[in-house]
Symmetry: C2
Subunit: 659 residues, 2 copies
Amino acid sequence: MDKEQESTQSQTDVLIIGAGPCGLMAAYWMARYGVNARIIDNRATKVFQGHADGLRSRTLELFDSMGFQHRVMQEGSISTEANIWVPGPEGKLVRQAQIDIFRVDESPFHNTCLNQGRIERFLLDSIREHSDLDVERSVIADSLEYDEKLSDDPDAYPITVKVRVLGEDDPNSSCGQETEVAGIEVNRSNLLPDDWADLAPRKKPQKTQVETIRAKYLIGCDGAHSWTRKQLNIPVEGSNTDHIWGVIDVKPVSDFPDVRRLSVVINAAGTILVIPRERGLVRFYVPVQTCEAGATDRFDRSKITSDLIRERVQAIFAPFTFNFKECSWWTVYQVGQRIATQSTKDNRIFLAGDAVHTHSPKMGLGMNMSMQDGFNVGWKVALAVAGTLKPKVLGTYALERHPLAEMLLDFDRHWSPIFTDQKPGADTKASDMALIAGKFEDFADGWKVFYPASSLVWKSEDNATFPFARHMIPGERVRPAKLRNQAGGGTIWTTRALESDGRFRILVLAGDIRNPTQQQRIETLTQGLAGQTGSSSSPFNRYMEIPGRFKSPVDVFTIHASPWKEVELFDFPEILRPFDPVEGWAYDKIWCDDACMFDRYCDGTAYEKWGVDRVLGALVVVRPDQYIGWVGELSDVDELTRYLDGILLKSTDEVDQVL
Amino acid sequence: MDKEQESTQSQTDVLIIGAGPCGLMAAYWMARYGVNARIIDNRATKVFQGHADGLRSRTLELFDSMGFQHRVMQEGSISTEANIWVPGPEGKLVRQAQIDIFRVDESPFHNTCLNQGRIERFLLDSIREHSDLDVERSVIADSLEYDEKLSDDPDAYPITVKVRVLGEDDPNSSCGQETEVAGIEVNRSNLLPDDWADLAPRKKPQKTQVETIRAKYLIGCDGAHSWTRKQLNIPVEGSNTDHIWGVIDVKPVSDFPDVRRLSVVINAAGTILVIPRERGLVRFYVPVQTCEAGATDRFDRSKITSDLIRERVQAIFAPFTFNFKECSWWTVYQVGQRIATQSTKDNRIFLAGDAVHTHSPKMGLGMNMSMQDGFNVGWKVALAVAGTLKPKVLGTYALERHPLAEMLLDFDRHWSPIFTDQKPGADTKASDMALIAGKFEDFADGWKVFYPASSLVWKSEDNATFPFARHMIPGERVRPAKLRNQAGGGTIWTTRALESDGRFRILVLAGDIRNPTQQQRIETLTQGLAGQTGSSSSPFNRYMEIPGRFKSPVDVFTIHASPWKEVELFDFPEILRPFDPVEGWAYDKIWCDDACMFDRYCDGTAYEKWGVDRVLGALVVVRPDQYIGWVGELSDVDELTRYLDGILLKSTDEVDQVL
């Protein structure tokens, strides 16, 4: 092999194909765990305008755990009511119903719209904050080889991907460069300053280069037409009817009263979804036509223009006026309801996001589901590569996410006809909508994910709730609550406090530590956590480290239910506020569920939300992705250790000790 | 004049000397108004660590109006209680008192600590968002000439400043470059990524260059040893005793229970102020010694080290432990309580911030007062340069801010001895503290600024409150309230809604528009605002534009008190939601004071906070800096116009019309 060929060979632990929101969520974990990874994208620049825009509350909770939710709240537009407009008795459109946002205390965050370009910005900034990982753009994957024989060896590189790094000489070199979107120029004047540097594509090599990348793991986040999926010959199944949608982001000039409110307008001429957005923009979804999938001439895209979409909206809005002078983005979507039959190959290659499931974009679920896919697969692959997670746990990705993809399609099949069917009774539609919204609300908002039992999720035998923590359900999220820091007095949402830093977290719900019997229980717990009782060593030094990041993949986080002013930090045993020679005692690990006069959301109701007794407390393990893995009583340290033993590799010290 | 000399001559409308928080606040307005301005600083880089850190709630309200309060909230540390520790009966330190934050509903924001480097970051980002104005660093001002004869000509350039732009050849070229602060290296590992680009100083010219800058206005924000002040021979008066303070930002290793809470520790060995900060840091202020000001050898600074400060804290904390391994910044402050006798020369040259007032840093007031100085002078100078504000209004800067500088020193004189006097009775100190805190609380938090009557502030004849808007006091701020947008349903604090975009704003407190009599009043108001009644034209097209920014320097903002669901946007007259051919109707101009189920802070109490009748409403003018200028009834459009006539220059059209 001569030197020139050698220079185009490389190895990486993880290769991510596709740097949209799904791929960036996976890359976030590579950055957090300090994993040797690469992320490539065939486009020349990030997305700037338009594309996906709906953010569900669960996604926002995850963003909070990643540290940039405040940026979304500052820029995004919250939708609080759904308004249904139908022809009234005199034929003119009237507001038939105004459906309030439901269960407002279920999450601190509400449905928010903000364009995908900003989400990519926040993810890129977060990745940069934690590592040197950078998206490689204008890189095209050409071939994929996979050596099945190596699938069981975690140290092997069974994957070989040949890529082309486009140079200035390639005619496609500027493809996917968003300097102009559908005839609208993207420039400084319509972007925020922190996106300006990305406007110009990176410096490319003079000549196109070919590189052969060998990888331990591959994550394909390359969209509905996934190249990765096609290389693996994984079929997609589902509806063979494609619905064609016009979508347009404009500053509306309209006398429709709810143009700044989430609305569905159902008229004889058709149905429109109205979605208010950031910076005065409003998105309009309009069904344009239906055609058979797979037909060679699916539809003549060139016939659909922004003017045609404008006219469709005008027809449906009539007699209200509609027009615009400023359009920031528009496109035509042709999306069927389809699902890949598999989302992994031997748990070495994974598909995530639109590569697995495609559906209509109207419920603002696509980007959310995709990002949550990337989030789920990302931490598992990264922690496995770090040598901390048992590789068999990787099987939980498909187990957890694939059924949700099916549920998403089911939801979409119920929901979509409301927008696409021709001229049904308007009344029926509104009531249908409420029915479907009610049925799917937990799912749509991401409050329930229904992750099944696995090594990562220990359910009770009959799937019943645990009496000592009735609303802490393994496989679901921790219901958000606002807590008060014992040491400093500041308040924080659990979503931010339980930072997505890569560690499992033992939540010690310590109850009321003023109670002498409870003090005794805490003492016993302390001995258990220190490895002084039972047959096991301490869960805090029993497992492999996360190299370069954390000495232990298990962290502790205590929330007590005594009044804030009646206890002190040093009333708690040191193992709950561990000492570090540089950081001092861990002031950020003891929290209090008490009302706080200066913060109305810190109202001392966390224990009630979680169904936990305020004296007796409980013990919970939260996974790195914020989902509940295990629930027990304060005395159940042995079972907790068995749970972690099933997931994490024991440290070398520990193995020595056992031998 | 040959070509080379020519190249070193230049003109600018406004020259700002000093790019600390005060200078950047002034520069913010130059950016917002699009004024031709320059800002120079003798340091090679911005501040990164340490320096000032206390942010009072009023400052945070201003940040909200500037658009970056959310970044402070994400990073800063809120201090909610003041804890007083004194020796108990057995001599050991005990917590004598825990003083809660008072009047929590007075502001959405609470005292927050975050280092000056971050504040500079947010200000620099904000300036960049609105203009190409950039700080010119490593630029030294050498001489100042001022031609008094030109003082009355707003178009003249009476100021000539010669500056040296340091080149690589100058030995001082890297002075003030914060790559190392007091022996602590500043690098990527202890900075957030958005500060990294500023770590390296800008590219300097090869050779030092001399430039002569002629300016219409000069703002000296160049600190306690202000070069500008010295050039003007403006004397400083005040205490001739300098107190010397050690200040240290560390990660404390300490078993003192309140090390993460704002605390004053008063021991026989001395007094310490403990201020929790961002990222696990805590600041400690320790008095070190007192000396006479003006003595040539004021004190031997080299004798004071971080170890000496560490030992002082250890002595006062005993028997609690104190130590640290990580120190991000430390310094020795030598500050007397002094005030410049003037803060302007002919209203062409202004002094702001520490250039006017120096005092002890312990109450976290210095940076706040300085930034508010810069904010006050900035908008006035910029709007005068824009040709919109009558130049005589510039006299209100000294009128408004100088008395506050005096009050600040008065406050400091009361407060400072508590920290510096030797061994008084500890009990006395704690009660003193509560007394002084009570007396100055409105002042310290910035909730009252006591701006006197002027062309900008129309008080009632006997300084009484207006019965129709009892808590809307001219010269004070609008008490913050959370409102609901009529068009979209989203909620917002008035502090953010009343954006500091440079315009005067007419607040139409429309009352309950369901009431037929009130509808009649609104109709009359509408005619008045449209210039269809009385002797005046519409205040919206009566005045000079803000060139390149706004066609009118007067904006409108309506807040009604009807239930949100019972009225519609289009129920309001068009002049309150003006039409724009691109933006459509102004959806962001009609707001509602109603409770909102998804936001606990949007509780429908704005009218009560402002002392305004929920049916009858009121009319208020808010200045560009968010202070109340004028208060009246809905029928008082004529008086409102007279108020604006006293401040703003009439547009050319208007002059024609009058002629």
